[in-house]
């Protein structure tokens, strides 16, 4: 690899701030062959940019502003229903915020003729923690696997050491986000659940939960861990969790917000084929129609943002 190749890889603007974590072998070979300007993957590229924009401005920022931030700022002042909506809402917010950013990065790169690795693959449909990490921030999880888990010995040193390695990897993964107990607990929950899952599978190989039950357990463990990830300190995290059973009026629980929180998860269940066909349909429309449709989306996104400005992407801080 030449110095120029290395510099281009480091400075390639779509992925520079917050991933996906691109490996040399994935990017540099693309610099070696000329990009073909007659065949830009604009169907997926434009879809990813538009989808990412809406995920960020409409879903993530609305959930944050209207329910997640108020509840995490003052857990004691909110009812159980509001707290639950904030917990599930944050799961939707962080997915739409972060995957929205990587979607836009990947889409921009596609318009320039480059392919970046996919970073999210329907994580909230996972029926186990292991599968969750197959679909969540995939380029970080493979980094953790190849540079932490495997050097620690992976699963080659017996079951006990495997559990320890899983735990250590996730604890360090948690600390990577910041030196705080909350991130450590977040990593601990994931490490513990990954190890527990593996233990159960080895101990009771014939035990099979129905898919819906496995999904429910997995999703709720992920959401529980997110509470610690979002809370500024442990007191707030436990304050939020302690408030789940509280009564009282719930003015923050509106049909629109519930729809956004549910939609953030449900959209992952849309079959891939649907998006592929939609992209093909879009590519076949006249250019002016395509432009007007995208312009209209920008207007909607700008209206959602309003005069308070766009909240920074969550992962910019890490």
């Amino acid at each position: 690899m030449s110095l120029v190749d290395f510099a281009v890889l480091q400075a390639f603007f779509p992925h520079i701030v917050a991933g996906p974590i691109v490996r040399v072998g994935e990017f540099v070979p693309q610099l070696r062959t000329p990009r073909d300007p007659r065949r830009v993957l604009a169907g997926p590229g434009l879809f990813l940019i538009a989808g990412g924009l809406i995920k960020k401005t409409v879903v993530a920022d609305e959930l944050a502003r209207r329910v997640v931030d108020p509840v995490f700022a003052d857990p004691g002042a909110h009812s159980g229903l509001e707290t639950l909506l904030a917990i599930y809402g944050f799961a939707g917010q962080i997915y739409c915020d972060f995957s929205g950013y990587t979607d836009m990065a990947i889409g921009l790169a596609l318009l320039l003729g480059f392919r970046l690795p996919q970073n999210f693959d329907r994580p909230y449909l996972a029926t186990s923690l292991r599968l969750f990490w197959h679909g969540w921030h995939m380029t970080l999880s493979r980094w953790l696997r190849d540079y932490l888990y495997i050097p620690l010995g992976g699963n080659r040193r017996g079951p006990r050491r495997t559990y320890v390695n899983l735990m250590l990897t996730m604890l360090l993964g948690g600390l990577w986000h910041g030196a705080a107990w909350t991130f450590l607990i977040w990593g601990g929950i994931h490490g513990g659940a990954l190890a527990g899952e593996r233990w159960v599978a080895e101990r009771y190989p014939r035990l099979r939960l129905p898919a819906w039950a496995a999904w429910l357990v997995t999703f709720n463990i992920v959401c529980l861990a997110w509470v610690f990830f979002r809370a500024p300190d442990l007191g707030t995290a436990f304050g939020v969790l302690g408030q789940v059973g509280a009564g009282g009026p719930s003015p923050l629980v509106t049909p629109v917000l519930v729809a956004l929180a549910v939609g953030a998860v449900a959209i992952q269940a849309v079959p891939r084929d649907f998006w592929r066909r939609a992209e093909q349909w879009f590519v076949a429309r006249p250019a002016v129609g395509q432009g007007v449709a995208l312009g209209a989306l920008v207007v909607i996104a700008d209206a959602a943002v309003g005069q308070q400005g766009v909240a920074p992407f969550i992962y910019f801080q890490f």
Partner: protein
Amino acid sequence: MDEPRDRHIDEREHRREQLSDHQPIGGQPNVHDPSHPGIGDPADPRLTMPAGRVFLIVLVALLTAAIFNSEAIVRAGEGMKPGTTRDVVLSVGRPLEAVTGFVGLHLPRKGFDMAFGQESKTASGTELETGSAAILRRKARREAKPVWRQPTPARPLEVLVTGDSEADLVGLRMADLDTDDLLDVETVARNGTALTNPGFFNWELNAEQEMTSRDPDAVVMLIGANDGFNVDVGGELFAPGTPEWETEFARRVAVVMEALTEKGERPVYWVPPPTARDETYNEIYRSQNRAVKRAAESVDGARYVDIFSTINDGEYSDQIEIDGRRVLGRQSDGIHFNREGAEVPARLVLQAMAEDYPALADGIPAQEQPNGRTTLGD
């Protein structure tokens, strides 16, 4: 003999671990795998188009957005600092707005604004734009002792720190300095806003909306750096630096102070700009400081916090003294504090607040002045 063989197996297993689909942590995203959503198969002509066409689509999209969004473009332009960018944005935005407004193309955007529950921040007929200077002739009541609820760690004071971009870092540093957990600081910076430009952002209206929705115990208002516009008094325009401008500015400050205190219900600590590197700005900021002092004397609960003459004796310097150390305290624009420097105005605000909330006095380091004075009790 054994050792190399072991290593060989190890490496094979290692490779298998990397490649297997059933690893406990993470998958192996493959950039060339067409089954990955969104990536697509480059050989599929139904997903590709020539680069020129993509360029055309993006151009049409931007044009569409500009036409339907012309009002927002003008609003954004009006909020910018005077300069070439502002001139370009407004020279494109204003004619576009005139045409689209006439045809009604601004209506879809208005509909979306309503759908997202965006409150308008402009209005006509507010007191901020036109009103009597009689408000400045009132005398604020002076309490012998603090009358507001005192903060405790169990029930901290809810403080809204707002204003223009200067509010951001000062709010942040106030929260940093609050080691006794007596404050619950919320910072809402409205970048680029000013009192002399209510057509872009009406602070009287915004103050009413914010006080209704947030109802804080106290407000810190840092504003003025963008206030270089002429003001219209009874149909006549006055430029900054004239006595008429200063009086009109004081009147506007008093109007917003009343909206924030809600007739003395909570204290408002109003912080006009500090010194600036550019002497033209300095003149305007000096005039603002006089105006805010005057306005605070006529509104119940309003306090003037001076960060102009109390920092470096009113002389601009990129460096500020904090606890005997000189640090680079200003940003390159010669107006804003940087993160480190913002500690100084944050201390000065907290010291002003400590006069109403004595419990705050314990935790705040006094801000020493170069001549040995401290701002406490000056």
